[in-house]
Symmetry: C2
Subunit: 756 residues, 2 copies
C-alpha cells in the first residue's frame, strides 16, 4: 500500500488553524433575523403569564414567539421546540425573540424575562430524589431518543423495561448465578463510584441558520451538525412534514464530541417558517452551557469477587445515569461495558436511566463508557492490590477475547484488548517505572464495541482526470482526509487529486451521523467500494481504447498504462473525457459503493499515567501519559495519533477537572469557560502514543473505529495513579484538589485512629 | 404503464407562473459587488487609451478592471474574458466596473466610456466581405467551440478542413456524381436563401453571481445555465485551474433555447478572484442583446434536380454561416440536414463557417436546422409546383427512412419522417383545405438527428419512504417532471413521492448540457436505470424481511406486498429505515444508473400553416397551425404538447418577424424587446398538435428528443404558405411586410412585363 498508512496532513487543517474556515456563525442570508431564547430560570414551574408587549417595543425586535405561535401540526413532536405550559429544567427555552440584530434580540429577551411570571413546582434535581416514592414525575410520557442509539455501539440484547416513573429505562444483564459466584470468591470488593455531568466543551456554540424555500415551502437548514440526515429526520418529525421538504446543509463543525447531533435545528426551522424570513440562532456560550446536551453524571454501585489466584468469579453492578428531563442517557451501553472487559462467570447488572429536572443529556464521546470504565478499572486495581498481583498481569489473566460473551450474551468479535495489555506490560514506561514519594503510576483499559451503520458513497471522475468523493458524512475528526487516502489508494493516484465533498441531504448518498467511531469504519467501506467501482470503470474503458486486457493495466502518474508496454497509455483525463462528453461511447466514470452495517469491530485502548500529588493541597498533576490503542489499521496515522492525544487530554478532564455544578435550585453555577475547567496546555503532560494494529475483519484495509476508545480509560487511569501516589482510593470524579486533600486528610485520620 | 404517458403538470410550473420562483438576479451574497461592463462601440479597433481614474471617482465604484487586471495564468484561454489590445466586435466587453450598487456600476461605465479612446481598424461585417481576398483576418488563430458540439446532433463524418482565413471551418459532403445527377434531371431549381441572425429572446438576461471560497481559493458560481458541467470545464480552462476548484450551482433558468450555455461565467469568476468579494453580473437587456450568442444568419445556395416522375436525382448546396468573431456556428449540422431529409442519389454540399466583426454566435434551438430546412423545404415546394405534384406526396415519395445514408454517409436510425408525412397527408386540415384569394397553405418537415451523451443519475430512498432523483441535468423544459414520472413508473409509486434534485457540480452525477433534445433521452435513461436499481434493492430487502420470492412482490400504495397475500406487506418507509439506520442489516437503498451515449434517435416534425397575406401591406398573418411530431413516446404528453406549441410559435418568428439588424458600423439597431420583434399572442393562431409515437430503440420507454424538431420546419412552412397565398417565392427570412409587399410588387411588374 502506497497511500493509506502514511501520516498525512488534514485537508481542512490549514483553514482551521489560520482562521479562514467559515462557520455557521459567519453565514449571512439576505433578510435574516437573529434569534435569542428566553430560558427558564426555574427547574420546574408553570408559566403563569408571558406578556410580549414590552419586548416587542424594543427597537429592532420583530417578533416574540412561544410554542403556540409555531406552525406545528397536531401530532408533531414538540421535542426540542419551546416549553408549553410548564418548564422542566432551568435553561429550557420558553420563547424566542427575533430581531434585526443579535443585540436587539438579546435586549428583547431581557425585557421579556421581566414580563414573564412562573408558578414554582416541586423539582427533583438528583437521581436519588427522582427515584423516591413520592417524587413528582418529570415526564408524563417518556420519549425515547434515537440519538444515543445512532451514536452508540451495537449493544442491544439483555432485557429492558420501561414504566411510568422517573426511571425512564431499566436494563438487566444476567449470567450464571451471582450468589454462587460470590460464595466462590476469596476477596470481595464493594464500592460506589460517582461521576459528574460533563460538557463536551466544543469551541463553537450550537449554530443554525434556517431559511424557507419559497419554491417548496420547505426549509433549508445550514448548521454545524455531526449528522445531517439525522437532523433532517428529527426536523421533519418535529414539524410534521415530509423529509423531502427539509434540506440540511452541513457547515464546518467547530468541535462536536457527540454534542453536535441535533439541538436547535428543529426550533430554528419552525421560527423561520413562522416568520417567513431566514432565522439565525447562534447560542451564546452561556445559553449553550444551559440548554445543550452534556454527558450524564452517574452513580455506579459495584461489587466484585475474585479468587486468590486472580480469577474473577462474580460481578454485581447497578448503574444509575441522570438523564435530565428527557430520556437519552446511555445506561445500556454503560451496563454492557461494566461487565464486558473481563471474564466474569457470574454477573448481574442493572442499568437505570433516571429523569430529573435538569437539562436533558446527550452523547459525549464514548457515551456511557468512561463512567463504567472508571468503576470497573478502579475495582480491578483494588482487587489486584488486595491480591498482591501486578495490575496489568491481573487484567491479562481475566481479559476477554474473541468469542467471549458480552453481558448481553453477544460474542465479542476479533479484538485487540490482550495485545494492548501485553504492549503495556512490555513498555519501558511501565516495566521500568520507579515509584517515589507522592508519585503514582496508574493503568486502565477501556473499549468500545464499535459503531455500525449502513452507508453509501460515490467516487466520480472529473474531466481533468481528478476525482471527487461525494458522501453524506460530516468531517469532525479529519475523516475527509482518510476518505481521500482510501480513494487514492484504490485508484492509484496521489490524494491531492481527490476532492472530498460532504454533500447536503438533498444530494448526498446516505451516511449516519459522524459519531460512535463509525465514519471511517463504515463510510470508508462505502468510499472504498465506490473507488473500486470507479477504478473498474476506468480500466474497462482503457482496456478497450488500448486494446489490452484489463488485468494488464495499471494506473501510474495519472495515466493508465499497459504493464511492460509503457508507450501504450491513456491519461485519466482522456478516460474521463471519453466517458463524459457529447457522443461519449462509455458511461460516465461514476463509482458507487453501498454497504450494510459491517460486523462491529471493538476498539481498545490502554492508558498509563504518571501522577504527582501534593498531599497538602490535593493538587494532582500528570507527569507523563502513554496511550496504547488497537486501531486495526491506521489509514492516516497522523489523524489517529491526534485522536489518541485528544482523547488522553479529555481523560484528564474526566479525572481531575470537569464537572457541571448545579445549585439547589437547579441552576448551573459554572456555565462559561471561565468557570468550567477543561484541561489547558499546562495540564497535559508529554504524551506518547503507540498504535497497535490487529486488523478488523470488516473495516477498510482492516481499520477500526478510532474516536471513542482513547477517552474511555482516562479517568480510571488517573484515579488509579492518584491511588498509587496517595494510598487513597477516591471514587468520585473529578478528583479536584479539594476532594483529594479531603480524602488524604480523612485517610490520615483513619490511619491514626485505626480503631474508628 | 400507469404513470408515464399521462399529461402531468410541471413540478416547477406554479412557482414560475405565480412569480415566486427565484432567479440568479434575486441572489444576494454578503459583501457582493455589482458588475457592469464597458462594451466596445466599434466592430474592430485598437484600444488606444483607457483611463480608470474618473470612473474610480464615481461614488460607490470599487474597482475598474481590464484584461491585465484579471488573475489569469499564462496559457489560460482568454475566451469569454475581456478584450485585450483590440476589440473585434461592437459589444465586446472591454472593462468591468465593480461597485456597491448596480446604479453606481452603470454610472462608472458611462464615465469610463468617455475616458476610453479607440483607433478604428477596418472591419468585415458580412460573410461576403469576410471572404474577399483582401479582407482583414478577424481571428489570427481560430479557436473551436465545443458548445455547438455539445448542443448539436451526432453528425460528424464528411470531410472538414481548417485554414488561416476568415473561413473558420469548411465541411464537404459528397455522394455519387453530381454532374451526372443533374444530367438525369428533367427539372432543375436553383435559388439562394438567406436567413437572419436571431436572438433566443429568453426573458431572463444572462446572470451570474460568483464568490471565492475562502477554504479552497476556488470559485462558486451561481448561475442560470443549461449546462453546469460545461460551465465548470470552460471556467476552469479560462482561469487555468483544476476543475475541482470550480463549483457551479444551477439556478432557475428563465429561458435558454440554446443561449444559456456559457457566456459571462468565466469572466464573473475572474472578477470575483480579482477583488476577493462576491461579484454579481446581471446583464441589462441591451447588453444581453449586444454580447450574448445568438443564432447565426446564413446564405444557402441550393440547386436541385428532379425527374418528371418526381424522383429526386441531384443536390448541390453551399451553406455560409456568419459566425461572428469566434467560430462556433453549426455549419456542419446545416450541411447534413440540407441533404439529409430526402434520397438524393448524387449530392455535393459545402458548408462554411465564416468569421466577421460581429458578436460570436452560439446555439439557437436546433442549431443550423431551421436555416437548412428553410432552403430545402422551399425548394421541395417549388419542385412539386413545377412538376404539378402534391407537395406532401412528393415529399413522401423521396423521404429517407431507416438505413438510408445521411450526407455524411452514416445511416439514419429508426425514424418517423414517413409516418409524420402520412399523418399530415391524411389530416383533415390538409386533406380538406380550401384555398381562396390571399389565403395559402404551406407544409414543411424538419428533423433533428438526435442528441447523444453519456449520463449518470441516482435514485435514493428517504427514511419516510419517499424517493429522491439526484441528477446533474438542468430543467429548462419540464424535464424534472419527466424524470419524476420515469422514476415513479419504475418504482410503482405516485410521482409526488419523488423529488427531483439538480445537484451542483460538486455533488452531481455527470450530465451533459440540457440542449440538443437530449435530456430526457439520455439522462432519462440513467434515471430509469437508477430507479430500476433502487427497485431491485427495495425488493431484495422486502423479500428477505417478508420471506418471499422477489418475483412475487409488487409495490402498491407505498408498500411492498406479496402478490396474493396482501397481509404480508412492508411499507417503503420501513424498507428505507431498515437500510439506513444504526445497525442496518442492508445497504442504503441507493440506486444508480450510468449510460453511454445511446444510439441517436432522429425526431421529425411536420408543420401545416394557413396564412392570409394582405397584398398591399405585405402583412402575413397565420390563421391556423398544425404541428405533427414523432416523439417516440410521450413521457409527459403535456410537456411534449408545450414543446410543440412553443416551437410552432418560434417558427412564426423565424418566418415573419425576427432578425437582429446591424448598421454599417456593426451596431445592433434593435437591441431591445421594443425593437426586436418576437411573436406575440396575437401573432400565434389556433394551433393543433398531433403526437406520433414511433418508438425509439434506445430512449426511455421509447421516448425520443422532443425539443428541437418542432421549431425546425416553421420558417419553411410559413414561406411555403406565403408563396401559395401570393404566388411569389420569397427566399429571405423573415418575410416582413415590407419584404412581402416589395416581392409582390416586383412579381406583378414582372408578370405585367414578361419580356423583362
Amino acid at each position: 500500500m502506497t497511500t493509506v498508512g502514511k501520516p498525512t496532513r488534514r485537508i481542512e487543517g490549514v483553514e482551521k488553524v489560520t482562521g479562514t474556515a467559515r462557520y455557521t456563525e459567519d453565514l449571512v442570508l439576505p433578510g435574516m433575523l437573529h434569534a435569542r431564547l428566553l430560558l427558564s430560570p426555574h427547574p420546574h414551574a408553570r408559566i403563569r403569564r408571558l406578556s410580549k408587549d414590552a419586548a416587542l417595543k424594543v427597537p429592532g425586535v420583530v417578533a416574540v414567539l412561544t410554542l403556540s405561535d409555531l406552525p406545528l401540526p397536531p401530532g408533531a413532536s414538540a421535542r426540542r421546540m419551546l416549553a408549553g405550559a410548564e418548564v422542566r429544567y432551568t435553561g429550557e427555552p420558553v420563547a424566542a425573540v427575533l430581531a434585526e440584530s443579535e443585540a436587539a434580540a438579546t435586549d428583547g429577551v431581557e425585557v421579556l424575562a421581566i414580563s414573564t411570571e412562573y408558578e414554582l413546582l416541586p423539582a427533583v434535581l438528583t437521581a436519588t430524589e427522582a427515584m423516591a416514592d413520592e417524587a413528582p414525575l418529570v415526564s408524563p410520557a417518556a420519549e425515547d431518543d434515537a440519538e444515543a442509539a445512532g451514536h452508540g455501539a451495537a449493544t442491544g440484547g439483555g432485557s429492558h423495561e420501561q414504566k411510568p416513573s422517573n426511571v425512564a429505562n431499566r436494563y438487566h444483564y444476567h449470567r450464571g448465578d451471582v450468589a454462587q459466584g460470590f460464595r466462590e470468591a476469596d476477596v470481595v470488593v464493594e464500592r460506589t463510584y460517582t461521576t459528574s455531568r460533563l460538557h463536551q466543551a466544543y469551541l463553537e456554540p450550537h449554530a443554525t441558520v434556517a431559511a424557507v424555500d419559497p419554491m417548496t415551502g420547505g426549509v433549508t437548514i445550514h448548521t454545524a451538525t455531526q449528522g445531517t440526515f439525522f437532523v433532517r429526520e428529527a426536523t421533519a418529525k418535529a414539524l410534521g412534514v415530509s423529509e423531502q421538504l427539509i434540506r440540511v446543509v452541513p457547515l464546518t463543525v467547530g468541535g462536536g464530541f457527540g454534542g453536535k447531533i441535533v439541538l436547535t435545528q428543529p426550533l430554528t426551522a419552525a421560527l423561520a417558517l413562522a416568520v417567513k424570513r431566514p432565522v439565525r440562532l447562534v447560542l451564546s456560550r452561556r445559553d449553550d452551557f444551559l440548554l445543550s446536551a452534556p454527558g450524564p453524571g452517574s452513580t455506579i454501585e459495584l461489587r466484585t469477587g475474585v479468587k486468590r489466584d486472580g480469577t474473577l468469579v462474580a460481578l454485581h453492578g447497578r448503574l444509575i445515569f441522570d438523564a435530565g428531563a428527557s430520556s437519552g442517557a446511555p445506561a445500556g451501553i454503560g451496563g454492557v461495558l461494566l461487565g464486558g472487559y473481563y471474564r466474569f462467570p457470574h454477573l448481574h447488572i442493572e442499568a437505570l436511566e433516571v429523569l430529573t429536572h435538569k437539562p436533558p443529556v446527550g452523547a459525549y464521546r464514548a457515551p456511557g463508557a468512561p463512567q463504567a470504565t472508571f468503576a470497573i478499572e478502579s475495582q480491578m486495581d483494588e482487587m489486584a492490590k488486595e491480591l498482591g498481583l501486578d495490575p496489568v498481569e491481573f487484567r491479562l489473566r481475566n481479559a476477554v477475547d474473541e468469542g467471549d460473551p458480552m453481558p448481553n450474551g453477544r460474542p465479542w468479535a476479533r479484538m485487540g484488548l490482550r495485545k494492548v495489555l501485553e504492549t503495556l506490560r512490555d513498555h519501558p514506561s511501565w516495566r521500568d517505572r520507579v515509584s517515589s514519594e507522592g508519585i503514582g503510576y496508574g493503568v486502565a483499559v477501556g473499549g468500545w464495541p464499535g459503531g455500525v451503520e449502513s452507508a453509501s458513497a460515490c467516487v466520480r471522475a472529473n474531466l481533468d482526470g481528478t476525482f471527487q468523493v461525494v458522501m453524506g458524512a460530516v468531517d469532525i475528526t479529519g475523516t475527509a482526509t482518510s476518505m481521500a487516502l482510501i480513494a487514492a489508494e484504490v485508484l492509484g493516484i496521489p490524494p491531492d487529486r481527490i476532492r472530498v465533498v460532504t454533500a447536503d441531504t438533498d444530494q448526498a448518498p446516505y451516511a449516519g451521523m459522524a459519531a460512535g467511531s463509525k465514519t471511517t469504519y463504515t463510510v470508508g467501506l462505502a468510499v472504498k467500494g465506490a473507488a473500486e467501482d470507479a477504478r473498474r470503470q476506468v480500466l474497462a474503458i482503457a482496456a478497450k481504447e488500448l486494446e489490452a486486457r484489463q488485468d494488464d493495466l495499471e494506473i501510474e502518474d495519472a495515466t493508465v498504462r499497459v504493464r511492460g508496454t509503457p508507450q501504450k497509455a491513456l491519461p485519466l483525463a482522456v478516460v474521463a473525457q471519453k466517458s463524459m462528453s457529447f457522443g461519449a461511447k462509455y458511461p460516465p466514470v461514476f463509482g458507487t459503493g453501498s454497504v450494510p452495517s459491517p460486523k462491529a469491530s471493538p476498539g481498545f485502548a490502554a492508558h498509563l499515567v504518571k501522577v504527582r500529588v501534593d498531599p497538602e493541597t490535593g493538587q494532582a498533576r500528570l507527569q507523563g501519559h502513554l496511550v496504547i490503542q488497537d486501531v486495526g489499521f491506521a489509514i492516516n496515522p497522523a489523524a489517529v495519533d491526534g485522536q489518541m492525544r485528544g482523547g488522553a487530554a479529555q481523560g484528564i478532564g474526566w479525572g481531575l477537572l470537569e464537572s457541571m455544578v448545579y445549585d439547589e435550585a437547579g441552576t448551573l453555577l459554572n456555565g462559561s469557560f471561565a468557570d468550567y475547567s477543561i484541561p489547558r496546555a499546562t495540564d497535559v503532560p508529554a504524551t506518547e502514543t503507540v498504535i497497535i494494529e490487529v486488523p478488523s475483519e470488516s473495516g477498510p484495509f482492516g481499520a477500526k473505529g478510532v474516536g471513542e476508545p482513547p477517552v474511555i480509560p482516562g479517568g480510571a487511569a488517573v484515579a488509579n495513579a492518584v491511588a498509587a501516589a496517595t494510598g487513597v482510593r477516591i471514587t468520585t470524579l473529578p478528583m479536584t484538589p479539594e476532594r483529594v486533600a479531603a480524602a488524604i486528610r480523612e485517610h490520615r485520620r483513619d490511619s491514626a485512629n485505626p480503631g474508628n
